[in-house]
Amino acid sequence: MAVSSSSFLSTASLTNSKSNISFASSVSPSLRSVVFRSTTPATSHRRSMTVRSKIREIFMPALSSTMTEGKIVSWIKTEGEKLAKGESVVVVESDKADMDVETFYDGYLAAIVVGEGETAPVGAAIGLLAETEAEIEEAKSKAASKSSSSVAEAVVPSPPPVTSSPASAIAQPAPVTAVSDGPRKTVATPYAKKLAKQHKVDIESVAGTGPFGRITASDVETAAGIAPSKSSIAPPPPPPPPVTAKATTTNLPPLLPDSSIVPFTAMQSAVSKNMIESLSVPTFRVGYPVNTDALDALYEKVKPKGVTMTALLAKAAGMALAQHPVVNASCKDGKSFSYNSSINIAVAVAINGGLITPVLQDADKLDLYLLSQKWKELVGKARSKQLQPHEYNSGTFTLSNLGMFGVDRFDAILPPGQGAIMAVGASKPTVVADKDGFFSVKNTMLVNVTADHRIVYGADLAAFLQTFAKIIENPDSLTL
């Protein structure tokens, strides 16, 4: 270091990895000094009582926004050395760089609490600064009490060789054996640990869902209440409420007296954002009447086995989509078709004041019973707000059914990122005339599909609906 310093200076502009930064916050007055003074010789403290001299703690500075702890690379000053304001005292290594930390006060480096090579959390005292020479001793005793307690709790990664005598090493085994004898230790992956530290999540409190019960990154993210960063099609974060509030207040007349404003929940914000976003997609709608006599008969048969109408419709839609992949595609960039590799049917569900779309993955491949089972599970999770992101944002086609309310027809808004959405009305006895002019009464339901016209054209949608209707009208294939 010493030898190289001359060349360091000569190439100062290039040594980017190391910079001089001073931190006012790193040195702060400690008012506890008065308490300590009572134990020191009477001659010195009587005077200092009136002057109210200070022993200041030198804190581990936060050198970057992500820094949680720092390592002392080296102390530039030694204990007892005089310090002038602006002088570098210590070199601290953060997650990003080594930096010299300067003092903002004159005084003496009374004691080093955290030695070279040791690590301390941001904000912890790493040394003590005495204002006068006389206070050095006092500060040292204070440091002694400090360091003994901090060593006990801090895990020192590489203790200096002198102190790592066999005696201290022998003292270690006790906790180690306790750990190995314990019921089950926490296993977390490297990234999970990093995220836990970053989001200040106590890793011990996280339930592991990974292989062998280990804690994975997504477990930590769930615990921290954030959507996993991996899923690229995750719903965008809700927009800041103030913006929407402003937009509405400026455009609309003032509220009537006694009206109330209830801010959106996170889910409602997400819905709002998605709805606004949907306006940028050119959509069109095609309706189709479907005879459900056969489906109703099938439903009666399989209902005792736990099959739901949602599962039947999702399965039928899935099978139809398999034959019309373009309806299962999406337009991500306005320039290309994105054909999805699997058919994942999102089904809209109203949940206390919100709207969510749990996804039945591979709806074309799973059998009816599995789909029904899966659906129950998803609805349960949705109610208890435990849906994993991939369980609500991986849909490639959406199904919305308002038939149970007696709605005979409606049209749905196409969610961003998908190519089409199907709105299903109630199945009602309807008088129909056949090609020979004979009238009959058949259960008919109207389905209405909204699609992105950039990729799905009228004929595509019509053909898809025809296939869908055929499957519903001859539903035997659904149970295969």
Binding site: S7, S10, L14, S17, K96, A169, V187, T189, R214, K332
Partner: protein
């Protein structure tokens, strides 16, 4: 033959136009420039009259040769007439070291045979540098494509990058096959006899290979290389507990892999695995990750290559026991304190890669027949690679190069040692300066080094009483690096301010492995800073990083007055 050696041997002013050589028939039909381990270059293009002489020799002596092996006469271009020996030179082991020695031996007119018990190319080509570079080429691209911020700063938009594991594995395998064939052909083409079978030393100047073929040679070079070192207590099953041999086949990409050892091999694999989506846990016996690198470089490298990635680590611990995944249990790793040997922790991971270094492959070589005792498996040699026997005396006509002697376990070092030996046996004394041999770690970004580290240089300076200075520069100061959005990195040079001697150069940054050679050549040729600082570097190129170092150095002595034109030899 080597481009690096061409300087010292092309003493003639008579250069033959290349097209004459080119027309010399099928003998020279192999590609003229091959690369091995990114450093070796077979450069027939530089051939001078020397090579022409070999060719005429070959034709002259063709009829006199008695061939014991199947090599066809037309492909045999060995020069010297057989005396009482079958060969002038036998090389045991056709790795990169043996290959380098063989090519140079033929150039020197020696009748040469090379014995290989496995596949030509050895570790480097089949299980080391070559396939790993293929994987690292993939990981570099994946890393770049996945780095949204990086792409955005270029104004590029890339939708989710993915990979096909088998495709990646095939790339590595195909590359190894291609290089192996190139290597084989390059030796066949100039008439090196490739003898198949396990070779061993029977006695002075006598070698056995295969079942019971006995051949004699004036000189013998042992170049048997090394195998991955697996510490005891570790059970390698090739599936979940693997060595680099298995890992290079990339048969799986585990979700979580522990890498035992954080040297070159471990670091490069961590780069590959994390780019392909794995999480990595390093287990390092020393207190610091990346031992062996200059401390400052390893510190910065840790900030870039370890901390921001999905990697954690345990230092100061040994993996005392590793059990492969079986019976529905994950891989279990027991850690003990490296100093106290007390149990410290148990890890449960999906796979473990043992990268604790390499052990010499010298068993069954018949060393007892010449009274040679290995040291931890390594064959003791002097600075001229001459084998030393159990009594400390030199074994005549027996040499050992490469990993088997343990001097510097790098492919290009083996090759350089082989060339040095050939120089000696063909009557020219030569001692290889190991301090001029560069080393590189092909992470993203790369790390490279030559010569001493800063602490080593300071120690030497103190002992020998000279001053040591250090200059540094950042890649952030380099235009080309910034254009590539790759400003992360530093280069440092350790030198003597009194005479301008370069003691060591360490680079961490974009293309560091390619940049180091200006420094290693300067060290090899004894070029001083005050001279090289006057050399011109094209702008804007990464090479200006080194230019920056040379120019920033404060040297007391002045540039020598030699003009540049005088230095041109070729």
């Amino acid at each position: 033959m080597q481009s690096a050696m061409a300087l010292s041997f092309s003493q003639t002013s008579f250069t033959r136009p290349n097209h004459v050589l080119g027309s010399s028939g099928s003998v020279f039909s192999t590609p003229r420039s091959l690369r091995f381990c990114g450093l070796r270059r077979e450069a027939f293009g530089f051939s001078t009259s020397n090579q022409l002489a070999i060719r005429s020799n070959r034709i002259q002596f063709l009829s006199r040769k008695s061939f014991q092996v199947s090599a066809s006469a037309s492909s045999n271009g060995n020069g010297a007439p057989p005396k009482s020996f079958d060969y002038d030179l036998i090389i045991i082991g056709a790795g990169v070291g043996g290959h380098g020695a063989a090519l140079h031996a033929v150039e020197k007119g020696l009748k040469t045979a090379i014995i290989e018990g496995d596949v030509v190319g050895g570790t480097c080509v089949n299980r080391g540098c070559v396939p790993s570079k293929a994987l690292l080429a993939v990981s570099g691209r994946m890393r770049e494509l996945q780095n949204e911020h990086h792409m955005k700063s270029f104004g590029l938009q890339v939708s989710a990058a993915g990979y096909d594991r088998q495709g990646v594995a095939d790339h590595a395998n195909n590359l190894a096959t291609k290089i192996r064939n190139n290597l084989t052909n390059s030796m066949k083409a100039i008439g090196v006899d490739i003898l198949t079978g396990f070779g061993s030393v029977l006695g002075p100047q006598k070698v056995k290979y295969g079942k019971d073929n006995i051949i004699t040679a004036k000189d013998i070079i042992i170049a048997t290389g090394s195998v991955p070192f697996v510490p005891k207590g570790i059970e390698v099953d090739g599936k979940t507990v693997i060595t680099s041999d298995h890992a290079l086949k990339l048969e799986s990409v585990p979700e979580w892999i522990a890498i035992v050892g954080s040297g070159y091999i471990g670091l490069e694999f961590s780069d590959v695995y994390t780019a392909l989506g794995s999480e990595v846990t390093f287990i390092e016996a020393l207190d610091q990750l990346m031992p062996g690198f200059d401390p400052e470089i390893s510190k910065l490298a840790q900030r870039v290559l370890i901390n921001p990635r999905k990697i954690d680590y345990h230092t100061g611990v040994f993996a005392s026991k590793i059990t492969p995944a079986r019976d529905g249990k994950p891989v279990l790793i027991e850690l003990i304190d490296a100093k106290t040997k007390e149990p410290k922790d148990t890890l449960e991971v999906d796979a473990a890669l043992i990268a604790t270094g390499r052990a010499p492959f010298t068993n069954g070589l018949g060393l007892e027949n010449v009274n040679v005792v290995t040291q931890r498996g390594f064959i003791p040699v002097d600075e001229r690679m001459r084998v030393i026997d159990g009594k400390g005396t030199l074994v005549p006509n027996l040499y050992c190069i490469g990993d088997a002697n343990g001097k510097l376990m790098l492919a290009h070092a083996a090759s350089a040692q082989g060339i040095s030996v050939v120089e000696q046996v063909s009557g020219r004394d030569h001692v290889l300066n190991h301090l001029s041999i560069p080393a590189a770690c092909f992470t993203h970004p790369e790390i490279s080094m030559v010569g001493l580290t800063e602490p080593q240089a300071k120690e030497k300076g103190e002992k020998e009483g000279f001053k040591v200075s250090v200059v540094k520069t950042s890649f952030k100061a380099n235009t080309k690096a910034l254009a590539e959005n790759e400003g992360e990195g530093i280069a440092k040079m350790i030198y003597r301010p009194d005479n301008g001697e370069i003691l060591g150069v360490h680079i961490f940054g974009l293309h560091a492995a390619d940049l180091i050679h200006e420094a290693s050549n300067a060290i090899a040729l004894g070029t001083r800073i005050q001279d090289i600082k006057l050399a011109v570097h094209a702008h804007p190129t990464l090479s200006e990083v080194l230019d920056e170092l040379f120019k920033a150095a404060k040297v007391e002595s002045h540039a020598t007055t030699r003009t540049v034109s005088e230095k041109v030899v070729v």
